[in-house]
Symmetry: C2
Subunit: 320 residues, 2 copies
């Protein structure tokens, strides 16, 4: 009655659809109120440090509902295994039966997260991206650059990290994607020469400070997805011309917007939702001098969209 | 890196351990505060009516954490497919990696729920069970009777349901387990001749009324696991000498205790937890005239215990 798919065939299926397009559609449906997304389930582990998130929901009237589990155990790198893991489960909204288990080892979460970064940049980046700055030289930092290629012609990048070796590996790999990549161990260098910046770290302290940010910069912060992770000085959000959340409701308990609101730097009324920005061009940046911030905490609708697309692609290809 | 097990081998593994014993141990660990159980995740569907519950958690310092999904779609019976479904996922608490997926189609949830009924009866039933009453002739109603055989010698039962055909099928099947089973379409008949009663229905209206309950009766209510399901007149809880919850925290938002508290029939201080009753015999019924009620909403520790036991049994048998 159900199918179990593993990583190789899931990876292969990704070439059969436009992931940025389906994620964009997902954000629109979400902001239109068509998607039921209960609060994120969460477990936090201390020794070794790690977390597990359960994101789940459904588009009303759709055929499926989806439950996604993603784990992050940052010390796994020492063991030579991936820091992120997980799986996605697709169920029938008509019978409750499991339709398929996508044992993607967290890959689809990585991909849908990177695609959300591309969606945010597509609608919020300045018209002329001079250089792309990436904070975090891990899996997500690499994927962000890969998916940004679909939305900006800029092939110049700078990557910041805390480990020189990891930075070299990053530069080598992303050069193969056609990027000219400089590396740095000094985070302040990034906003000095980049006007499209993506933060993709598990940091618990701000990495970028408000007075480093030049006019005309867009920042997508995607690392923080809990109440205790933070990548941006709350004053960056205070001074931004626009603050965009993937989910306003999730931003009440996690991520940069939560932290900046807690710090009194911004108020709830200062935040608009990504799906609304996609639908209404008048909500985007008004000129190339504005500073914009997108805070992505990851929404179940992304998981719904990508797992449905993968499943339908796998089934229509008759791989089973 | 992970194993996927399906129903036949999972069913087979159940003979390798004592499920009532591990569920009992789980309740004790839970009431001792050793188990982290975040709030239950829930999705409610309207057309067709159904629900999905996500229960998850971990025993502190243990090797695993567990996420369980259970669905209930009561109109499935018309389609000839099981009304309950789901799966259990076991992850490493050290790396976040998926250890195994138990594609049990909801069977392990059914079993651990039935085992919890046996645990409640073991510690709360009157010393001489004259007849067992079961409300609900579905899967859970059958399993309750099956697992009660381990904790009481009584082989006389009465089953109530709303469909005569289903009742006949129930009687036929449970006679094979050695029970002498009478059937009834009148719920009031059950408390008139049974002093150990289990309610196992998805009812949204009370099925048993307070003035029907005789002294010396124990009732385990296991059907209600949402805020809107209810099987017992709140006055039954008000007049009971003991009200026991599997989880006091879950009883604040779902189940009979939630409903009776909402109705003002009982207060939070009137409720004790099953794990505490198991540990301390002085908390059990004082005599065979008392009325006791156990309200079981289903706790993730049951899922943790059964999925670990199944996995370890499957692995030690070298079935993979």
């Amino acid at each position: 009655m159900n199918d179990v798919f593993r990583l190789p065939e899931i990876e292969e299926s990704l070439s059969n659809f436009d992931v940025i397009e389906i994620i964009e559609e997902g954000f629109v449906a979400y902001s239109q109120g068509k998607v039921v997304v209960p609060p994120v389930g969460e477990m936090i582990f201390e020794s070794p440090p790690g977390d597990a998130h359960i994101k789940y929901g459904f588009i009303q009237g759709d055929e499926y509902f989806v439950i996604k589990i993603a784990t992050g155990f940052y010390e796994n790198a020492r063991l030579g295994i991936s820091t992120s893991n997980g799986l996605m489960l697709v169920f029938s909204q008509k019978t409750g039966q499991l339709v398929c288990a996508l044992l993607d080892e967290g890959r689809l979460t990585d991909i849908r997260t990177a695609a959300a970064g591309a969606v945010a940049a597509k609608h919020l980046a300045p018209s002329d991206v001079e250089r792309i700055g990436i904070l975090g030289a891990g899996i997500q930092g690499r994927l962000q650059l890969k998916y940004l290629a679909s939305v900006t012609p800029c092939k110049s990048a700078m990557v910041w990290g805390i480990n020189a070796e990891e930075l070299e590996a990053y530069a080598l790999e992303t050069r193969r994607l056609g990027y000219d990549v400089r590396t740095t161990l000094d985070a302040q260098e990034v906003p000095a020469c980049c006007n499209l910046i993506v933060t993709a770290t598990p940091s618990k302290n701000p990495l970028l400070m408000a007075d480093w940010i030049r006019p005309g910069t867009h920042i997508t912060a995607m690392g923080s997805d809990t109440h205790d992770k933070i990548e941006l000085d709350p004053q960056i959000l205070a001074q931004a011309d626009m603050v965009v959340a993937d989910s306003i409701s999730q931003s009440k308990t996690r991520g940069e917007i939560f932290r900046a609101t807690q710090a009194g730097a911004i108020g709830e009324q200062d935040v608009i939702e990504l799906g609304a920005v996609i639908q209404d061009p008048s909500l985007r940046r008004q000129n190339d001098q504005q500073i914009t911030v997108a805070d992505l905490t990851g929404v179940a609708v992304q998981d719904i969209q990508i797992s449905k697309a993968v499943y339908e692609s796998l089934v229509s290809k008759g791989s089973r």
